[in-house]
């Protein structure tokens, strides 16, 4: 067996160094209000932190069930994972102490930490890994995100009390990245034996807080876990939380959420909108925490599976005419950076090619002429054999914030100049999924969050073109390239980090140079905090943790 050099001692040493980097980075990204806030001194104990989320209230507090972002946000406070990712995207120990992988990549031995107990008193043993994988794989659990991530695990063998052996059907270089996500958090095997409803209402983990009460449509109440002793290897503080209590509220309205924060009713908000961020930066009592999500960047995908984008020249013309930088600057008030990559800037293997996206309308016009779209109708829209050059773009108003919708409108105007007719159709989420399933689109912006570059396989492997029975498919650009499929499969089976990164960069080059996507910016994750909230940091999928937080009041 090939042993990865990640024993706990070395891990802790490197984690300490990396934490310093992470703190530096946090210092860079936390802006506004910094001048007014007092430097963090000795942590103060106790107090209640009120968190207000703009995401929907989860329907189940166990992120194994379903598996979406609202669940990840709150579950980060009471559940923990086998590993977490350091500032450079490398897995570091958390509930797992160490791991080894066989040379063929098919057998993984994972050893869990000793001396850790779930909050219901169940000790953490290798049995927990087996029980959690089984729970994720059980169709009755109704897991989606977690289910997809453990698909290659064929069986879990209990070697001894602390070691579980995972047998895989094929190598999976993304396995540790998957295990760093809240959707694969480790829950008490005893608690998992309860009914689904019970487990949804009060999941049991090893986290710094426990769910004490869930008042539907109002709040989730979280109490401190006084026996907490399982901080991840990159933590700066490892004892029980300083905060005594967290009140987790749901405030869907962005303006209300900001008002509640500014007036001091709540301490932290998520989904801060560009205008609120700008206001907050002029407000001495608020701090901005920018934590872009990992996985894919926010991008517009060009449906290459049908006319007119089945013609690469038309795709290139669209990209050449796409003038989005001024819009991003003006509409997002400097809170979003332009991306030129399929991957989020927090992914270490992200590959950018800015030159491909230089605006050149002459080139766009020339390409469209060459592609046969040379005639124009009275509206100035190009035509070919009597067909207008129309692009349908369903926009999900649940996912695209108003600033983003305005950006699409600006793009619509820029593309009209060269003869594209973009029809924006604002839809609720269900109708939007319906339009995608019916293939009624030429352009679409669809977010996807997953830790690690393996998200490329979900988004651009040709197997993602065929819709599942639910109608859901992730390859919206309909990229169908055997060379790309081969690269992605090879990358998934490669455990050598350098080789893996190289393969993923080649894959990204194919996506970019094929003009399949127009990258816009990172998936936005902006938090605003009262400036007396100290010690907040974000974990693998950019969810905030309050394990080290305290209130300076």
């Amino acid at each position: 067996m090939h042993r990865t050099p990640f024993r706990r001692t070395t891990a802790v040493a490197s984690a300490a160094a990396l934490t310093a980097v992470a703190l530096l980075l946090a210092g860079c990204t936390a802006s506004g209000g910094g001048a007014g806030s007092t430097p963090a001194g000795e942590p103060k104990e106790g107090g209640t932190l009120v968190y207000a989320s703009g995401d929907a209230e989860p329907t189940c507090l166990d992120p194994h069930v379903g598996g979406n972002y609202p669940q990840a946000l709150v579950a980060t406070q009471y559940l923990e994972q086998l590993v977490t990712l350091d500032a450079e995207g490398n897995p570091v120990p958390w509930l797992a102490d160490s791991w080894t992988v066989s040379d063929d990549g098919l057998t993984w031995d994972i050893t869990v930490r000793s001396g850790v107990e779930f909050t219901d008193g169940t000790p953490l043993t290798s049995e927990a890994i087996a029980a959690n994988v089984a729970h994720l794989q059980d169709p009755n659990t109704g897991s989606s995100t977690g289910y997809l991530a453990v698909q290659k695990i064929q069986s879990v063998e209990i070697v001894d009390d602390s070691t579980a052996r995972l047998h895989l059907s094929s190598p999976d270089s993304a396995l540790l990245e998957s295990f760093s996500q809240p959707w694969l958090a480790i829950e008490s095997p005893t608690a998992l034996k309860r009914s689904k409803d019970e487990n949804c209402a009060s999941p049991v983990g090893t986290g710094p807080f426990v769910v004490s009460q869930w008042n539907r449509q109002q709040s989730i109440e979280l109490d401190r876990n006084d026996a907490y002793a399982s901080a991840p290897a990159d933590a700066t503080y490892t004892g029980p939380a300083h905060l005594e209590h967290i009140e987790w509220r749901f405030i869907p309205e962005a303006a209300t959420r900001y008002a509640a924060l500014a007036s001091g009713e709540v301490d932290v908000i998520d989904n801060a909108q560009p205008d609120a961020i700008q206001q907050a930066e002029g407000n001495g009592s608020l701090v901005h925490l920018d934590a872009p999500r990992p996985g894919s960047s926010n991008r517009i995908e060009l449906n290459s599976g049908q006319a007119p984008f089945d013609d690469e020249k038309v795709r290139e013309a669209f990209i050449a005419a796409a003038d989005v930088n001024p819009g991003i600057q003006s509409l997002f008030f400097g809170t979003a950076q332009r991306s030129y990559s399929p991957l989020s800037s927090v992914e270490p293997t992200a590959y950018s090619e800015p030159d491909l996206f230089d605006v050149d309308t002459d080139r766009a016009n020339q390409l469209l002429d060459e592609a046969g779209w040379s005639a124009r109708d009275s509206d100035g829209i190009r035509t070919k054999d009597g067909q207008r050059l129309t692009l349908r773009m369903p926009v999900s108003t649940n996912q695209s914030i108003p600033a983003e919708v305005s950006l699409f409108e600006q793009l619509q105007a820029a593309e009209k100049a060269v003869g594209f007719d973009i029809q924006l159709d604002q839809l609720d989420l269900s109708s939007w999924y319906g339009a995608l399933a019916a293939n009624d689109y030429e352009l679409v912006s669809a977010p996807y969050t997953k830790v690690g570059p393996d998200v490329l396989r979900i988004l651009y492997d040709s197997s993602g073109i065929t819709p599942a029975p639910s109608g859901y498919f992730a390859n919206h650009a309909k990229v169908d390239d055997p060379a790309l499929d081969a690269l992605l499969a090879q990358a998934s089976a490669t455990s050598d980090p350098a080789q893996r990164a190289d393969l993923y960069q080649q894959a990204q080059r194919i996506v970019l140079e094929g003009y399949y996507i127009l990258p816009l910016y990172d998936q936005q994750n902006h938090f605003l905090l009262r400036n007396d909230v100290e010690g907040v940091r974000t974990l693998a999928v950019s969810t905030p943790t309050f394990a080290e937080a305290w209130l300076d009041r």
Partner: protein, 351 residues
């Protein structure tokens, strides 16, 4: 404002003595209508109730059916609701399991009949998303919404009466200003008004919480947001009735007997206007509950409104139908009560 004062035909009579004159001129025949026998009255009420109950059952069935079809007509898969909504990137196996669990793989007609069968036994079913009895979900959320709507209703009446009293007692100018205020208030959208109140009272002045339901003060802004447009509407109707009343002959006679304008308003005009008020209150309660969807969402308040909003968003069919049915039921009950109250107040209806 009123016409030239005419001398009272019967000097020395009290306000109550003047009732026949007042009733005759206002065509409210309090004394002249023959008192109906108790038996006839009971029969009338009984028949009314029977007709109303049959109607109510029909209305509830129609509401359940239309809602069932409407929610199903939204594109997408209700099985996603079981897995946490469309954002959960659900896999096909998970969706298939969810469909089987909730009978969503059955033909639509069978699902409808099964659902009606459950409703007939008073069972509202199980929420796809909340994994809980719909009746329990509603029982949990209903009190918060009822408190909000009742506070808003009382507030709306107080505002409407205050405005009407002020406007009807002043001259032409104050009536015009009052009318303008009422029209503006009635036309203001809840969403915009709520946002303005939050910015003013929570963000700028810091007097009232924007969201907190943990303190009693938290109800003030949501209730005011609901009450202002309703007060505008009620005020318009009330003012018409009051103006009508204070300029009619019985008012002139009362005035001539030395009744001040305050007394005239409270003792005579209001009584005259109370009939449409009862009908309006029934209507207002219904409109308040629908307004609660917006206000509860805006102020992040617990209640049926935000429950409905969330359920529609993720296509949680049983909860949507359950909430809509309860709102319809409240509407029907209030209408019946208003009808009975009108009969009690207005002798003409009893004949």
């Amino acid at each position: 404002m009123a016409g030239p004062l005419t001398p009272d035909p019967r000097p020395g009579t009290t306000a109550t003595d003047a009732a026949p004159t007042e009733a005759a001129s206002a065509s409210v025949h309090l004394e002249t209508a023959p008192p109906p026998s108790t038996a006839r009255r009971a029969l009338g009420v009984g028949r009314l109730l029977a007709v109303r109950l049959a109607g109510a059952v029909f209305v509830l069935w129609a509401v359940a059916t239309i809602t069932f079809l409407a929610v199903r007509a939204i594109p997408g898969d209700p099985a996603e609701a079981v897995l946490g909504g469309p954002g959960s990137q659900a896999g096909p196996d998970a969706l298939a399991a969810a469909r089987a669990q909730y009978g969503l793989d059955l033909p639509l007609g069978v699902q409808y009949l099964r659902y009606l069968g459950l409703l007939a036994t008073g069972d509202l079913g199980t929420s796809f998303a909340l994994h809980d009895d719909v009746a329990h979900v509603i029982a949990e959320q209903l009190p918060a919404t009822l408190i909000l709507t009742l506070v808003a209703l009382v507030l709306a009446w107080v505002l409407a009466l205050a405005l009407a009293a002020w406007a009807s007692r002043g001259g032409w100018g104050s009536r015009a200003v009052g009318g303008l205020l009422e029209i503006t208030a009635a036309a203001v959208p809840h969403f915009w008004l709520g946002a303005v109140l939050i910015v003013l009272f929570s963000l700028t002045l810091g007097w009232l919480p924007a969201v907190s339901t943990s303190t009693p003060l938290g109800i003030v802004l949501p209730a005011v947001t609901l009450a202002i447009p309703l007060a505008g509407f009620l005020g318009q109707v009330m003012r018409e009735q009051i103006t009508d009343a204070v300029t009619s002959p019985f008012a002139l006679s009362a005035r001539a007997r030395g009744e001040g304008s305050g007394g005239l308003f409270w003792r005579h005009a209001l009584r005259h206007a109370s009939l449409p008020a009862v009908t309006l209150t029934g209507w207002a309660l219904g409109s308040l509950i629908s307004g609660a969807v917006v206000v509860e969402t805006l102020f992040a308040r617990q209640g049926l409104g935000s429950t409905l909003y969330n359920a529609v968003r993720i296509r949680d069919v049983p909860v949507v139908i359950g909430v809509v049915l309860v709102v319809a039921l409240v509407y029907v009950v209030v209408t019946i009560l208003a009808d009975l109250a009108e009969r009690a107040l207005d002798p003409r209806r009893r004949a």
